[in-house]
Point group: C2
Chain length 313, copies 2
Amino acid sequence: MPQIRNCRIAGYGTYLPEHVVKFGAQTRYRVSEDESQLGMLTAAARDALDRAGIKAEDVQCIIGASAAGIQPIPCTAALVLEQLAPFGVAAAFDVNSTCTSMITALDIASRYIADGTYESVLITAGDVGSRFLNPEQAESFSLFSDAAVAFVLTATDDPAQGVVASTQRTWAAYAHDTEIRGGLSRSPAQMYADSDPADYLFDMNGRSALRNMLTVLPEFLAKFLATSGLSLEDMSLVIPHQASPAITIALRRIGIPQEQYIDWVADIGNMVSASVGYVLAKVLEQERVRRGDTVMLFGTAAGLTANALVLRL
Amino acid sequence: MPQIRNCRIAGYGTYLPEHVVKFGAQTRYRVSEDESQLGMLTAAARDALDRAGIKAEDVQCIIGASAAGIQPIPCTAALVLEQLAPFGVAAAFDVNSTCTSMITALDIASRYIADGTYESVLITAGDVGSRFLNPEQAESFSLFSDAAVAFVLTATDDPAQGVVASTQRTWAAYAHDTEIRGGLSRSPAQMYADSDPADYLFDMNGRSALRNMLTVLPEFLAKFLATSGLSLEDMSLVIPHQASPAITIALRRIGIPQEQYIDWVADIGNMVSASVGYVLAKVLEQERVRRGDTVMLFGTAAGLTANALVLRL
């Protein structure tokens, strides 16, 4: 069993746009004209800092964990820091593994906290998926919500608290199941007029993405639990990435009973990088999980990437 | 003095486009039509893997450390992994602190190696700055080169080898000195026709960037050395980010003698995220530094961000 990386969630915060779009029984949230990715991330971060009782000026590190950031330069973390504390000074960088970026950031942050480099790390995650959706792809157009989530991770004196185990894998063979091809070096915006406009929008091959997710995920999780010396029975709650309505199929195949995991896809949709964190923040708020409980966060992302992380609260 | 994070550079690789552009005595390298960021990163990575004697299929983690990536989704690391090993499986994620992304990635990778999570991590860095340059901004237009660099970091049995100390800070007050505002959520490519085209290009306020860099850098480095129990005399070589011809002024102010650091700005320009790593790879190739030597990498980036990292080879 790997050594626990001691840290604790000292605060969490969320932001959900008010504007609701319904697709049949599916509820989605989308930004209005006066809302932005930066505004959502900043609001979630303020909420998390308030709960943690930490001033923005005192945060030692901020990690931006969005799938698509605010602008190519500088990094999203620097722009959020500017909003929180115009004269703030902190380590600031972005981490990107698309929909599971928040898990990757938590994994990285836990190392910086556990080894004493930083006493506090603020992680922000969130995307405005609606900016990039293609109305001609009904499946993805009706799937995504805009949202943001933030966590303040701090040191802890409790030797049982922290990241118990974590893992991450990308299967390159499935790199093109889910893409936004345009906007950066491959097809910069200047080429927009001469390109296929769809190249600049979200492009998901839903059938292929589902098939490949079902191919890799059960074995990935089984191996993770085995090498970590953990079992599903150790988990107070399992929080999968709310990727699509198909998570029910995936979790049945993995053998996780319905009462042990959260499926809010109908109510909140796929929140891209905010997805897993948003659910974690809400179950903490609802006191559905408490200090001492063990939660497993996991999910798949474009790449095809899978992340899993077990956290003792 | 912080504990050394044991790891070693098992291989390095570089890619420089053949096409040369001269601005007076300044030499710059720019991609041709048939070259791309993905191609450059992949070539540098193959070079690094060859030197390390590690097959692409055996790399356990790949970190993409570019300022602006290939496409918004999936991450650059996943796309490079696909080129290196079409059926490859490895952890893959991106890390972004603009021009110093490679140092941030090295800092993160050293933690994963030192704690035994991975035996090998491949880091790729590199940008096609020329894709984003504004011909109307003479200073930046004549400053950048396109290039890529890669390192294979592995575990080591030598307790003296590895990252001796590292630090990173962002000063939010200077977040807008250096920007590319368009291409992602703030101004997606779809808005290009209705936007200021300059918003999608590199925008540097050179005077402000220089003044702020000179304001923060000397104190940043002095504090880093003091808290790490290190002094400039410990360094076999200092490798600053080749930001601009002004690095001479900055290094004089910091008090680093000319013979102790590398200034190749006239010959290679600012290679964005590849800059520091490219110089490190070249001095390793030239055997100007060898096993047992201590090198300090540092630089400033958009953010305004500063990184420093001391590596015992």
